[in-house]
Symmetry: C2
Subunit: 180 residues, 2 copies
DNA sequence: AAGCTATTACCGAACGACCGGTAATACAAC
DNA sequence: GTTGTATTACCGGTCGTTCGGTAATAGCTT
């Protein structure tokens, strides 16, 4: 099995169950491998699995944020990145690994990685807002607001079973970041 | 030990560790009792502990939301409820039990209770917005927006280690709900 | 191409530790 | 002395982890 597909499957387990909730049995079942086989790929055990998954998530976000980073048309870039964000979260049906994999019990390295991904994500959104003319302070505030709305709407969608809140936040992402 | 203090201590463990992460050892240590002693109060075990905690949380929110429900001065009521919300979350330092106790692995009854508390919370905020003159649809949207911002800012504060995002959301709660 | 070796990928079985949960018992209050 | 509360001791099961071993693959020598 390719590393990429393995990460894809493991992150699905981690994001839904959290670190402590993701048992080796659940991870192995999700990966389609036996428990012992996971230790061939990850000699460091469950901790290394979570760390590797976070590194994979970091790379995913680089790709997701690429349009809003580099598209000459800032608005179009934000729209496309929003589309990719919605895809990552399956339209609001899947929880955010930054939220679920960082409860107490998760290794400090994993929580640190989540913090760095969060910072990079907000930086990218702030840069887009700044490119659209916002002051540095306003751009950062708008980016934090966008992050807050995305994470919050994921929680609400999970609790209510209704994805419309998440969809609305995604639709309004250009307005949140670029004004209007 | 009083039931109220026991719930207070148990919820601190559950909210930080989640359901699966909150071992009986951690719960007993947090409660200041032996594991077996918890089974005297909760013959139904860990599931009943979580259910009882959710019921206690529901009652807490009734008290927290009381000002915005019944204060003749809607704005003053929202401000006071916002103050109580900030207190519940220790200024953004403590995660929301509605978020952390509802991952996969938590009993369905607990997740259902969390959904009901969420609905009641949003209903109370929508009622306040409506009392201030908003249309029913606008009031509900504003209330969902307020919930999304609170939950999202709790996630951001936890990830960044900086409580300012949560504090800003609380400060802006009257504006979010009542406009302006 | 064939044959040997080293490495990679995976699995079944088992370990010690800790999990959630139970029983029997001690102590206190009324 | 009965009731309610908390404790010590213990149970079966699952946890994360390790070990021994087996196919399959890659590389080197001839």
């Amino acid at each position: 099995m390719s590393d990429d597909e393995l990460f894809e499957r493991l992150v699905q387990v981690f994001r839904v169950y959290g670190f402590e909730g993701a048992s080796l049995g659940a991870l192995a079942e999700g990966a389609g491998l036996q428990r012992a086989s996971l230790y061939h790929r990850f000699p460091g055990g469950k901790v290394q699995m979570a760390e590797s998954v976070m590194e994979w998530v970091r790379r995913i976000f680089v790709d997701v944020l690429e349009p809003m980073r580099s598209d000459p048309d800032v608005h179009a870039g934000v729209v496309e990145s929003g589309r990719r964000i919605a895809e990552v979260y399956a339209g609001g049906a899947l929880p955010c690994v930054l939220n679920t994999l960082t409860l107490s019990g998760a290794p400090e390295s994993v929580r640190a990685a989540a913090g760095e991904i969060t910072a990079a994500w907000i930086d990218a959104m702030a840069a887009a807002a700044a490119r659209a003319g916002a002051s540095p302070e306003a751009a950062r505030t708008a980016a934090e607001e966008a992050f807050v709305r995305i994470e919050g709407s994921l929680v609400l969608s999970r609790l209510s079973g209704d994805m419309s809140a998440f969809q609305r936040v995604i639709d309004e992402l250009p307005g949140t970041l670029l004004g209007g």
